[in-house]
Structure formats: structure tokens, C-alpha cells
């Protein structure tokens, strides 16, 4: 078989915003930038906000990071033909997230996903798939965000993590006030409390 090889990845670099979020780079060019509305107006389920910060190995915030989120809707359906089940009109389930350049904080609004199908008839606890690119990251980092208020004990991915205390690095804490529900999810690329990253 004459298989081809995947094109090698290269860093997204510090100016990733020009291509993927040009307004953040400082100019207005496209009729609509992609990825700002993950769930759309018709999505059912709990409206949530997710916030966090990405830290480097010295503990400093990574201010030029870009994240992409990929998630199912509130009943666990992905908006994709290979899932094939219905999602609400306008629900894409994909978002693009950048930081505040001064603080490195990021956040996005969405609906809380439902449990999804796993392999071999298993069920995966509700989660948001994340992909992280930045200057200094040669190949995008994959991880998952799970929710502290869900039963994650039977999740087949979390249970693969040998050092059980590291499972906590994938679980977002929940906070609820008059403005709504916010989950906090900090990502540590390296060092103490290093987030579990996935080879998918």
C-alpha cells in the first residue's frame, strides 16, 4: 500500500489571531468570524459559561493561546453526519476561544453537553473536547473538560489515567451566582499539576 504521511504540524505562532480571530488582531475583514457561537439560540439544556487560564511551566499565563472546543448537545448528540442524530437548528457544537491579551483569561458561553456514546457500548460522562495551540506548541494539545457536578466515576477515559489524582486535572469546578453557572477550568501545560493531555 502506498500510504501518504500526514503533513507535519507547525506552531500556530503568536499571530494566530490574524487568521482565526482577526478582530482580536485588530482588524475587521470577514462578514462573520467562525466559532463565536457554540450552541446557537435554539439549543436546549443548561446555559453555562466556561472560564480558565492556560499556564506554562513557570506558572505564567499563556496569553497568546487559542483553544477550540468540540462538544455534543445537551442530550449527547454531535452535529456531525457520523453521529447522525438530530441537533437543534443552529447548534454546531464548535467554538474558538482566545484570551484577554493582558491577563490570559479566556471564557466561552455554551450549553452543558450530555453524556455521549463511548466505545463498546460504554457511556462517556459529559465532556467538552479541547484543542490548544500557541506559540511554542509544535503540535496542538488535546484534552477534555469534565464537570465536577456529574458522576464521572464510570467514564472510560478518566479511568484510563493511571495516577488517579491526575484525573482531577480534567474536571472543571462549578460556581453558581445570580449571573448564572460558571465552570472554571485551568490548564497547566507543564509542571506541578500538569493537565492530562490526550493522544487521540
Amino acid at each position: 500500500m502506498n500510504y501518504l504521511k500526514e503533513t507535519p504540524s507547525q506552531t500556530a505562532g503568536p499571530y494566530v489571531h490574524i487568521g482565526l480571530a482577526p478582530k482580536a488582531a485588530g482588524f475587521d475583514i470577514f462578514k462573520q468570524e467562525l466559532g463565536w457561537d457554540i450552541a446557537g439560540p435554539n439549543a436546549k439544556g443548561e446555559r453555562i459559561r466556561v472560564e480558565g487560564c492556560v499556564y506554562d511551566g513557570t506558572g505564567a499565563p499563556v496569553k497568546d493561546v487559542l483553544l477550540e472546543a468540540w462538544q455534543a448537545n445537551a442530550v449527547g448528540h454531535y452535529a456531525h453526519p457520523e453521529d447522525g442524530r438530530e441537533v437543534e437548528d443552529g447548534f454546531r457544537g464548535w467554538g474558538r476561544v482566545i484570551t484577554d491579551f493582558d491577563t490570559g483569561l479566556w471564557g466561552f458561553d455554551t450549553v452543558k453537553p450530555g453524556a455521549t456514546q463511548g466505545r463498546n457500548g460504554m457511556t462517556q460522562a459529559p465532556h467538552i473536547n479541547l484543542w490548544i495551540v500557541a506559540r511554542g506548541i509544535n503540535l496542538g494539545l488535546n484534552t477534555r473538560l469534565y464537570f465536577a457536578d456529574e458522576d464521572n466515576s464510570n467514564d472510560p477515559v478518566l479511568n484510563l489515567i493511571e495516577q488517579t489524582h491526575r484525573r482531577q486535572t480534567l474536571i472543571a469546578s462549578r460556581d453558581e451566582d445570580s449571573k448564572g453557572v460558571t465552570y472554571r477550568f485551568d490548564i497547566h501545560i507543564q509542571g506541578t499539576g500538569e493537565t492530562v493531555f490526550l493522544d487521540i
Partner: protein, 240 residues
């Protein structure tokens, strides 16, 4: 046909996370092993886009930020196909690019290089591949520029390329370089990729047949995303 897994990503073909000659990677590289997952529905699905998401002019960087004129620089066409590792086309997938202008300056509030901004050049574009996986952009050739790594580092002329594929597992960002550029061999970012043949996959080739006489030079850049098995015999990926 039941959906099947993507081939394992060959991480020896890619740059490792820690590449000390590219200094920024030192504190932005995980130290622990990645957790290897077999694909679930979460990985074999991914965002779906359509032509409604973009405008017709989005793939023309010579016109998409025109403020009464064309950008300065060498007019080029960048075109090619998006394929998977089985050499099958990846149709209807989003390709996005961004780049510096002909002087090596980015239109970004954080870029302070002394080369001037071009009033007619934004530096980004996007398009969808057709049914054969084919895509094309029109732009100007970006300039080389200095960056802080060692005292004297210059990036080879390059265009950043983002490709979605059909699944989150195929998501990829790479950089396109230009055939014959002597800075390729000197660049610590390019050289994070260990295999010279792999580096050559990132080098767009002069394509005289696609060059438009008296108008634009063309470069060919085929992109390969992960392939997948065509059959799944047991241990079904999906639930019941």
C-alpha cells in the same frame, strides 16, 4: 458502513513537544506522557462548515482587504489538494490561512517589526475544498522577518495553514514554505521536525503550469490529513 478509527498519529513524524532550539517550546511542552485513546464518537466527529459560512472573496487576499488598491508584492497563487493518508480527497473541508505582508510585517497589534503595514493587505483568507479536495488562494508572497529566539533568527517566508478535515482527530495547523528558500534550513521552527522528507512536505513547489502568464506565479501545496480504516470488524466504535 460502521464508522471506523483514524490511523494512529505518527508522532515520530511530527516535531516532539520539547525542541530546545525553539526556545518557547521549553516551558510550553508537557513533561508527562500523553494518554493514548482509541477513537470514540468524540474524536471521529468534528465541526461541519458550508459555503454559507464564508464569502466568495475570502480566498483572495489581493482583494479581500483592498482599500482602493492592491497590496504590494509578488502576486502568487497557492493551490493544491487536501488528501488523507489513503490518498483520498478530503472534500468540503475548511482551509484557513494567514501570513505577513510582502515586507514581512503582520497586521497584528502585537507585531512591532519596523517593516510597514500594507494598507491594502489584511493577511488572512479561507476557503472550502471542492468535491476533489481541491483548494486555491490568491495572495502576495510573504516576506521573511526577524524574530526573537537567538540573537539573529529569521523566519523563512511562510503561510500559516489551518485545516479541519472531517473529524476533530484530523485537526491540523501547519506552515507552508517556498521551494528554494535558504532560510528553511536555518529556521529552528522548521527544524523542529526531525525528518527531512517530512519537512519537504511543508515546502510548496513552483508550479509553472498553474502560473498565469503576465499575472501571477503559482505554487503547489498538497496537504495530507490522517487517514482511517475502511472497515471495523468487531468491538464496535458506536454504542448500541
Amino acid at each position: 458502513m460502521k464508522p471506523a478509527e483514524y490511523y494512529m498519529r505518527d508522532r515520530q513524524h511530527h516535531a516532539p513537544a520539547l525542541t530546545p532550539d525553539y526556545k518557547t517550546s521549553i516551558t510550553r511542552s508537557p513533561q508527562y506522557a500523553l494518554l493514548s485513546l482509541e477513537n470514540s464518537l468524540s474524536e471521529i466527529t468534528g465541526p461541519v462548515f458550508s459555503h454559507n459560512d464564508i464569502d466568495a472573496l475570502d480566498n483572495d487576499l489581493i482583494k479581500n482587504y483592498s482599500h482602493g488598491g492592491d497590496p504590494i508584492g509578488e502576486r502568487i497563487i497557492v493551490h493544491g489538494r487536501v488528501l488523507d493518508e489513503n490518498a483520498r480527497p478530503v472534500p468540503n473541508t475548511m482551509v484557513e490561512i494567514w501570513q505577513a505582508n510582502a515586507g514581512g510585517r503582520y497586521r497584528h497589534k502585537k507585531d512591532t517589526y519596523l517593516a510597514p503595514i500594507d494598507p491594502n493587505f489584511g493577511g488572512c483568507g479561507r476557503t472550502m475544498t471542492d468535491a476533489d479536495g481541491y483548494y486555491y488562494f490568491r495572495t502576495v508572497k510573504p516576506g521573511a522577518y526577524p524574530w526573537r529566539n537567538w540573537v539573529n533568527n529569521w523566519r523563512p517566508a511562510h503561510i500559516h495553514v489551518s485545516i479541519f478535515g472531517a473529524a476533530f482527530a484530523q485537526r491540523l495547523i501547519t506552515q507552508l514554505y517556498f521551494e528554494g528558500d535558504p532560510l528553511i534550513a536555518k529556521c529552528p521552527i522548521v527544524q523542529t521536525v526531525p525528518d527531512p522528507q517530512a519537512i519537504d512536505q511543508m515546502v510548496a513547489k513552483l508550479d509553472m503550469n498553474a502560473t498565469i502568464p503576465l499575472d501571477s506565479i503559482a505554487y503547489r501545496f498538497d496537504i495530507v490529513l490522517r487517514g482511517r480504516r475502511s472497515t471495523l470488524f468487531e468491538n464496535r466504535l458506536e454504542g448500541n
